[in-house]
């Protein structure tokens, strides 16, 4: 219990740092950066969702973008039809979670292997990509919302709940997105420390053993998969609000690869790592996009191969390991010093005993 709270305290500490950043950001950053940040926050929530289901649930989902994109499209379509953002957000999350539950039912209750699951989820995302690209033309519409094919469809901005006319300013949207990221981060940190979360981790470590202990591993996997999809959908909502549009690219192979790279670089088994990697790599690819010498895909490919071959644990677990090794080293040295101090004293007392 103590250890669990210790881990969760780390999560709360990181959340506090993020909160300070949120309050400080508008006064230190430029207005344009704040607008871009909203979409990066959406992407980092996507990273968080994969960190949860892959890093803790051990579910190899290569197509987390399917739920991200589904959330974004559902939000845009629902918001246009309802004429307000609040209800649309709930609908978007529900659609993505329901879709994940159905897909997960077939995958987990069929007991398909990791590799198959990875490939199936990726394929789902890619087929959604080609499906939604073909929906240009006035006949493809849901309610009042045109799907728009290749060009995508407009995503309405956030408004004050209950008042569709009161649209939020970009700074306020940034606040809402950042608070959502922090809350989701704390939620995921809490979830992995609950009984449910720990069973999921045990399934990641050894599924057969968890099953033999009496847990229905299929249900647990389906549960965390669905929660992950809901989180990804929230990421999709903020991403499309940040961009003000949603295009088929949310489902693309490039987006799917980026999501995997965030988690690999940030590290499996942490929540903060992939989130930070999403921010870091966004600025890396944005700065690579402005020059013509090195291709972005090339750099990302090299990063992915290098991490798999050389640092399969990722950056944050690597640092954590280093830190614990140093702490252990310091503890050992301190212990040695204590031993050295105690030894002569012990020797003296023994001498006395013998002489006495």
């Amino acid at each position: 219990m103590n250890g669990m709270f210790g881990q969760f305290r780390g999560t709360l500490f990181a959340a506090l740092l993020a909160l300070i950043f949120t309050i400080a950001a508008p006064s230190i950053l430029e207005f344009f950066t704040i607008i871009t940040l909203t979409q990066v926050i959406g992407l980092s929530i996507l990273a968080l969702s994969l960190a949860l289901i892959w890093g803790y649930g051990g579910i190899l989902c290569f197509g987390q973008t399917a739920f991200f994109g589904l959330g974004a499209y559902s939000y845009a379509i629902a918001a246009v039809n309802i004429g307000g953002s609040t209800g649309a957000m709930f609908i978007a999350v529900a659609v993505a979670a329901a879709f994940a539950a159905v897909l997960g039912y077939f995958a987990f209750y069929g007991k398909i292997s990791d590799v198959y699951l990875a490939v199936i989820t990726l394929t789902v995302s890619l087929i959604m990509y080609s499906l939604i690209r073909r929906t240009s033309g006035p006949e493809y519409k849901i309610g009042d919302a045109l799907l728009g094919g290749f060009n995508g469809t407009g995503a309405p901005p956030l408004n004050v709940p209950g008042n569709a006319g009161a649209v939020l300013f970009p700074e306020h949207t940034f606040y809402v997105a950042m608070v959502a990221l922090i809350l989701l981060y704390v939620f995921c940190g809490w979830l992995v420390n609950t009984h449910f979360g720990r069973v999921c981790v045990s399934i990641r470590e050894n599924e057969i053993r968890a099953e033999l202990l009496g847990y229905d591993t299929r249900a647990y996997k389906l549960g965390i998969f669905t929660v992950g999809a809901a989180v990804a959908a929230i990421g999709g909502i903020f991403f499309c609000i940040g961009v003000t549009r949603v295009t088929p690219d949310v489902f693309s192979l490039g987006q799917a690869s980026l999501t995997i790279i965030w988690v690999i670089v940030g590290g499996r088994g942490t929540l903060a790592g992939p989130v930070l990697a999403a921010f870091g790599l966004y600025y890396l690819t944005a700065s690579l996009g402005t020059q013509q010498v090195v291709n972005t895909s090339l750099v990302l490919g090299i990063i992915l191969i290098a991490f798999v071959l050389l640092a399969p644990r990722g950056v944050v677990p690597g640092i954590e390991k280093l830190a614990t090794a140093r702490r252990a080293g310091r503890r050992n040295r301190a212990k040695e010093r204590r031993m050295r101090l105690r030894k002569p004293r012990g020797g003296i007392s023994e001498d006395r005993h013998e002489t006495g």
Partner: protein
């Protein structure tokens, strides 16, 4: 009558197309139980080989039938030696490394040739007419080549020394190694062969689809689904999954248009895997190659 014939031919073409783009992937999967996520890029490299060669005055048939498989096969061997062999036994890392490789190839080709290509090759052989309907002669040739390729792979696996050793390694790599087979060399050869067949397929499809650095993405979804629905046996798996999924895709495309064809293919595969989680050949035709 003509309509039926034309429709049957169309469905045959969809099936052959699936088998053609999946066979190279199936060979690598059957051997190593790993999905090569750079498969689409092997197809893409085959296409580029053909386009570059024909632009430099090489005969189209020679470029498609000889050059594309040789070049991509060589790339496959290099990739296996430099990257894949460090990752045997680490299945998930192999998936991720091949994904990195896929991005790497897309990046390299974009850097060299640009994001789009100016030249395209038109499919040779013109059109064939069936009553009042017409069909492309090249599509019919592709059906024939795919059938020939499947037969060739069968003969190699069944009747050559290499095929015997490869089958042995597939069944039980430790036992094969104990009997003196260099499994590392077998893996290298099969990876190279899988890459060569992928390059061959990419080269053959280049006149139909054109080439782009990112064209791999349009093939891989279908190829992955076909291979995992087929299961571990290379030939029976590819053939049975291609016939089933290609048939469904063809019929749905005929009835509702291409938009839903792929969705039907995917839905059929997901439902199939619910009942046969190791693919068709995990349950049926287990003794097949």
């Amino acid at each position: 009558m003509d309509l039926t014939l034309s429709l049957i031919l169309q469905i045959f073409y969809v099936i052959a197309n699936l088998a053609l783009i999946s066979l190279g992937l199936a060979i690598i999967f059957g051997m190593m139980r790993v999905i090569n996520l750079a498969h689409g890029e092997f197809l893409m490299l085959g296409g580029y080989t053909v386009v570059v060669a024909t632009n430099n005055g090489v005969n189209l048939w020679f470029a498609m039938l000889v050059l594309a498989p040789v070049v991509v096969g060589a790339i496959g061997v290099v990739v296996e030696r430099l990257l894949i062999r460090w990752l045997y036994g680490r299945m998930i890392d192999t998936l991720l490394a091949t994904w990195g490789l896929s991005l790497f190839f897309i990046g390299i080709i974009t850097t060299i040739f640009g994001a789009s290509t100016s030249t395209t090759i038109s499919p040779p052989l013109g059109v064939v007419s069936i009553g009042e309907y017409t069909s492309s002669g090249y599509e019919m040739l592709l059906i024939g080549i795919t059938a020939g390729l499947l037969v060739a792979v069968y003969l190699v696996l069944k009747y050559t020394a290499l095929g015997l050793v490869a089958r042995g390694t597939m069944q039980n790599p430790d036992m094969a190694a104990a009997l003196g087979v260099s499994t590392s060399r077998i893996y290298m050869i099969t990876f190279g062969l899988g890459a060569a067949i992928s390059g061959f397929a990419g080269g053959l499809l280049a006149p139909v689809t054109g080439v782009l650095p990112t064209i791999g993405a349009i093939y891989i979804a279908k190829a992955f689904i076909t291979v995992i629905s087929g299961g571990a046996s290379i030939l029976a798996g590819t053939a049975s999954a291609s016939i089933l999924l290609g048939g469904i895709n063809g019929v749905v495309t005929f009835l509702t248009g291409p938009t839903l064809g792929e969705v039907a293919l995917l839905a059929a595969a997901i439902i199939l895997l619910r009942f046969m989680p190791t693919g068709i050949t995990g349950r049926l035709f287990r003794k097949s190659q």
